[in-house]
């Protein structure tokens, strides 16, 4: 087996805020392989975006990153800004939620894409122009040549996101991180953009990390899913395995809380009470314990580690769903 393209090992991100420490990412490990899609799923504050920004070294100065992020064998944690800049965009690119805010409103679309090409490649003006049109066609922006001279405000949200993807692809990245890239879009547009991303990934052989709060998106488009809660990975498996055999009660809670088309109208959703913990004052034990229906004293005292407990299926729970407790504990220790 070849080494993974990207490998996170025990990544921690702390923010210092007026005296106390907020641990936004707490011991995160995963791999991303080329031509595969990994979905990072979690709610606001689960650490999914912070962990992705740590990969890109896009965190503010107040953040302290420890642990390891290896890209093709190169350690990114502590890498100089100069060397990081060579990777960012060229090797690893990111698409964000709000295309309107990522684009410069005063520059024409074509200028913004060609600028991205010039940053990554030594090419002539004419070559950059041709490459920009090519990229616009690649992301299926209709009437690419006319769009070249338009400004961002003249485009719809979906079109703008296509421009952002074109810019992200300008340096031929091998890893693309899509951070809630379709969240602000309408459902039909979201589906079109997701289909585009999947198609591009297949054609270009990129690794794709999609960050989302939407388990439905993960089920539909990801090969592997990693569920995060309060800065930690709580369950990880191939998509089919995860959705077929949910083990972590938090994942089960997320799935139960989604309105489904198969449900009859007025079905009561399986809602768990409470709210995510305050990351500045985390008690010991499992972060989900205060809300978990399966909670015992053990959960409040000792945090369960994320461990491979069935082939290819990792979870962090003392009382996983769908298993006898005793059997689970044997494997889990």
């Amino acid at each position: 087996m070849t080494a993974p393209l990207l490998e996170l090992d025990d990544l921690r991100v702390d923010f210092r805020q007026s005296g106390h420490v907020v641990r936004a990412v707490d011991g995160l490990s995963y791999q991303a392989d080329k031509a595969r899609t990994l979905a990072l799923i979690g709610e606001s504050g689960s650490g999914k975006t912070v962990s992705a920004r740590a990969i890109m070294a896009l965190l503010p100065e107040t953040a302290r990153v420890t642990g390891s992020i290896r890209y093709e064998g190169t350690e990114l944690v502590g890498l100089s800004e100069r060397r990081m800049r060579a990777l960012r965009g060229n090797q690893i690119a990111m698409v964000f939620q709000d295309p309107a805010r990522s684009l410069n409103p005063t520059l024409r679309i074509g200028a913004q894409i060609t600028e991205a090409i010039h940053i990554h490649r030594q090419v002539s003006k004419a070559e950059a122009h041709d490459r920009a049109v090519e990229l616009m066609e690649l992301v299926r922006l209709p009437a690419a040549r006319e769009r070249f001279r338009q400004y961002p405000h003249q485009l719809s949200g979906g079109m703008r996101q296509r421009v952002m993807i074109a810019i992200a692809l300008a340096g031929d990245p091998r890893l693309l991180i899509a951070d809630e890239a379709t969240t602000a879009l309408d459902v039909t547009t979201q589906a079109q953009i997701m289909e585009l991303l999947r198609d591009l990934q297949e054609r270009l052989g990129m690794a794709l990390i999609m960050i989302s709060h939407d388990l439905g998106l993960a089920a539909s488009y990801a090969d592997e899913v990693l569920v995060m809660y309060a800065g930690r990975a709580v369950e990880r498996a191939a998509t089919q395995t995860l959705f077929g055999h949910v083990r972590m009660p938090y994942t089960r809670a997320l799935l139960g809380a989604i309105p489904r088309l198969e449900n009859a109208p007025h079905t009561t959703l399986a809602a768990v009470p409470g709210q995510p913990p305050d990351l500045a004052t985390q008690p010991p034990g499992c972060p989900f314990a205060p809300r978990c229906p399966e909670v015992t004293d053990k959960c409040r005292e000792t945090a369960p580690p994320l461990a491979e407990q069935e082939p290819g299926h990792l979870w962090a729970c003392w009382h996983p769903c769908g298993l006898e407790d005793s059997a689970a504990e044997e494997v889990a220790v």
Binding site: E43, S156, D186, A191, M194, H213, Y221, I258, P265, L269
Partner: protein
């Protein structure tokens, strides 16, 4: 159950765009002839994408601002044409809950004061009675009045703030609650809590809901009937079960195909086959059927003739010349002016 809370007939809302000199530069056809009814205790879901006019419709129902034409009857009282105090009195039976709870709550007020405010505005009860009622309302929405009553909005989470907004909306015992993307900005688990709360309140207080959202699965969860809006027009209206099982309008089909299923085994058709491109501008909507420029079934007729809303199954209407899943009666047949 048959008593109508809301009757909207042929509602039109347009906004005139001005150029720099103040001349007329165009008209935004935001809502173009929408009719719908809502019975007491009934929940009607209204789905549509950005720019479909669903929020404008909600505001036009509440006369904020009043529509260009059409009729809105709330508990039998015509709202269109009412002004000042008479409008305010008539409108109190309908309350709205918005997407951003923090945007609709004064950040300097305490929770108790926020919930009491509608009672003060309508001079309901004495100060002590209002305080008691506010506590009752907070308990009803699942917030402990002792713990939360003296907090200010910034000391609340998004879910808690939305509960306060709901308590406020309930203060005047309305018959109708209009939820405009009321749970869209909440995280999955909190959203489920608030959705369950809304369901419980509806049955306990016999409320009617007009539930506006872009998420079809979510709308199905709370609705007896569902209306689908596209570019200012209703394109389909029917019982929730039937509309999702046998959608009639190609736009509804595309919306349903776009929803990512949380089941990875679920068969998935590429959306590209059901819809193309993005919505045209409401300033210059397409002739005939407004969906035709994106519709895979469009034919010449769709450009020349606007399809009327027709009843194609029991209580199930669609405005389409070539409906899906219907035993396609000829376009001329059974035209309805619903």
């Amino acid at each position: 159950m048959n008593e109508l809370v809301l009757e909207v007939t042929d509602l039109v809302q347009e906004f005139i765009l001005r150029d720099r000199g103040g001349g007329k530069a165009g008209v935004v056809h935001a809502v173009s002839g929408v009719s719908l009814e809502l019975a007491s205790g009934e929940s009607l879901g209204l789905v549509g994408e950005t720019g479909s006019g669903k929020s404008t419709l909600a505001r036009a129902i509440l006369q904020a601002p009043p529509p260009r034409s059409g009729s809105v009857r709330l508990r039998g009282v015509e709202l269109v044409g009412l002004r000042g105090r008479r409008l305010i009195q008539a409108r109190r039976h309908a309350q709205m809950v918005f997407q951003d709870p923090f945007g609709s709550l004064d950040p300097t007020w305490t929770v108790t004061r926020l919930v009491q405010e509608p009672l003060v505005a309508f001079r309901v009860g004495s100060a002590a009675e209002r305080r008691r009622r506010a506590h009752e309302l907070l308990e009803l929405v699942g917030l402990d009045p002792v713990r939360y009553g003296n907090r200010r909005p910034r000391q609340l989470s998004g879910g808690q703030a939305q509960r306060v907004a709901i308590a406020r909306a309930l203060a005047l015992d309305p018959s109708l609650i209009i939820c405009d993307e009321a749970v869209s900005s909440l995280d999955v688990l909190i959203r489920a809590q608030v959705l369950n709360l809304l369901e419980r309140l509806r049955t306990e207080l016999h409320l009617a809901y007009l539930f506006i959202a872009h998420d079809l699965a979510l709308v199905k969860q709370v609705s007896d009937r569902v209306a689908v809006m596209y570019l200012g027009k209703l394109v389909e209206l029917g019982p929730a079960e039937a509309l999702y099982r046998r959608p009639l309008h190609p736009y509804t089909v595309a919306l349903l195909a776009s929803i990512p299923s949380p089941d990875p085994e679920a068969p998935r058709e590429p959306v590209t086959g059901t819809i193309r491109g993005e919505p045209p501008s409401p300033i210059d909507p397409p002739s005939g059927c407004r969906f035709r420029t994106r519709c895979p079934r469009a034919q010449d007729l769709c450009a020349s003739q606007e399809p009327p809303m027709r009843q194609l199954a029991d209580g199930h209407f669609a405005a389409c010349h070539f409906p899906v899943n219907a035993d396609a009666p000829a376009p001329e047949a059974t035209a309805m002016s619903h």
